[in-house]
């Protein structure tokens, strides 16, 4: 028996029919064609399927699609603003923080959830926050550097914006 679900994905209203047994991951990938979230383990142990649900980082394999009714979902497809990459995406490219790339969407979504809350997160905090995301290619070194770099970039932008704001105020 399919359930009608009205939700918001990457700021767009979305209506869909989901079977109660279907995970959010399955519906994102198979029904909505949003294949950026990946299935690595399907039991909450690798983070490849990460999305942000009402501001919180979750494994979309551990959420039923029917649960997201009335909620806000952000997937990797919603991280860039149009053609402008998010600082995390830019830093992942600059720092060579991906090899095969399968875990990359999950890492970027997870890191976004961190930096949205704590742009000043240090290495220890980044490593702790990302421990639910497995990467088998990079050894994490360049990923951690990319996230730290993106945090610095975001802090810079924020302070530039606020400085400009003050200047305009004069």
């Amino acid at each position: 028996m399919k359930v009608h679900v009205e939700t918001t994905i990457n700021s767009e209203p979305v209506e869909l029919l989901a079977e109660p047994r279907q995970s959010l991951l399955e519906v994102l990938r198979d029904e909505l064609g949003l294949t950026g979230a990946k299935e690595g383990c399907n039991n909450g142990n690798c983070g490849a399927c990460n999305v942000i649900l009402d501001g919180r980082l979750v494994n979309s394999c551990c959420v039923l699609a029917v649960e997201v009714s009335g909620k806000q979902v952000v997937t990797i497809e919603g991280v860039a603003e149009g053609e402008t990459l998010h600082p995390l995406q830019q830093k992942f490219l600059e720092e060579a923080a991906l090899q095969c790339g399968i875990c990359t969407p999950g890492f970027i979504v997870a890191a976004k959830a961190l930096l949205d809350r704590e742009p000043e997160a240090d290495e220890a905090r980044v490593r702790y926050w990302l421990a639910g995301n497995l990467c088998r290619c990079t050894g994490y070194d360049k990923i951690v550097r990319a996230v730290l770099g993106a945090g610095a970039e975001m802090r810079n932008r924020a302070s530039n914006t606020s400085n400009r704001g003050r200047t305009n105020g004069y």
Partner: protein, 292 residues
């Protein structure tokens, strides 16, 4: 194909009535980080998911008479982000902040962790030593049960068919008290505990003597254990390595673990003593920090 139904009741009464209607094929869905996976992997047959997250009472964090009422579906992240909880129940934060990764903590609740009744559940020893009470609702009304009596076997809890956990009630922390939780895992995150342990202590006003204590240990028996004689070994004794060792030895003696891919019998008994020592020391430190 087998049909699966999803229900999202708005009140405890409604939830209890659908649970009663569907019997053992219904399962409460809170954070879902265990039950969704168990259902997917065929470890649990679920025909009806009863999502209790739309019920205000299961999502509440409320202070009452200095104690804390934690809705059964409140996710770990909401608990450890609450600075008042962090200052009054640091042991609870020890647990909530290491259940799974961030992604799990966004969803997983202490209530769910308790209901899952894993011998290794990382919040259960803490809830036990903090003296938490499980608030249970059923068709015939409410009842309360100490958390140490809640788990009855691996994966089995004391809920009767048609009952659900509504909340956990934590008594107010006493003056000169402190508590702590630690687990041992081979990695630094994302593992099931090989052994875990929690202690709470109440010290004398000068901080030199144990007035009372509680010790609980997990992953070493079919259910997390409240080790009464270890608690007794603290009572009235001076705070010393010797006292701590005596209690820790009793924790290890109470352990009756198995050998599996996560650890061996000897390893788990050994770790029970190591972790007991560590959490007693940490609880003492916290108690002294909190001296009136």
């Amino acid at each position: 194909m087998r049909a699966v139904t999803y229900l999202a009741p708005r009140s405890i009464e409604e939830a209890v009535s659908v649970l009663a209607e569907h019997g053992t094929m219904a399962s409460v869905l809170a954070g879902g980080t265990d039950v969704i996976i168990q259902a997917r992997e065929g470890r649990k047959l679920v025909d009806v998911f009863v999502d209790v997250k739309n019920i205000a009472e299961t999502r509440a964090l409320a202070w009452e008479e200095g104690g804390l009422l934690i809705g059964a579906a409140v996710p770990c992240a909401e608990i450890y982000e609450d600075s008042e909880i962090a200052s009054r129940y640091p042991a609870l934060i020890d647990s909530a902040a290491l259940i799974g990764g961030i992604q799990i903590q966004s969803r997983a609740s202490l209530g769910g962790n308790l209901c899952n009744a894993s011998p290794a559940g990382d919040s259960i020893p803490t809830l036990i030593v903090l003296g938490a009470i499980a608030v249970i609702a059923g068709a015939s009304g409410r009842r309360e049960l100490p958390v140490e009596d809640f788990c009855v076997a691996p994966g089995r809890n004391a809920l009767q068919p048609g009952e659900m956990l509504v909340a956990l009630r934590l008594p107010a922390p006493r003056t000169n008290s402190g508590a702590a939780f630690e687990r041992f895992i081979p990695r630094n995150e994302m593992d099931i505990a090989v052994c875990n342990c929690a202690a709470s202590v109440v010290l004398s006003a000068d901080g030199q003597r144990f007035e009372s204590g509680r010790l609980a240990v997990g992953a070493v028996a079919p259910t997390p254990l409240l080790v009464a004689d270890a608690s007794a070994a603290l009572e009235g004794q001076s705070v010393s390595d010797q006292t701590t060792k005596a209690a820790a030895d009793r924790v290890a003696a109470a352990a009756r673990p198995i050998t599996d891919m996560r650890g061996s019998i000897a390893q788990r008994k050994h770790l029970a003593a190591v972790l007991a020592t560590r959490v007693i020391n940490k609880a003492v430190e916290r108690a002294r920090g909190r001296r009136a």
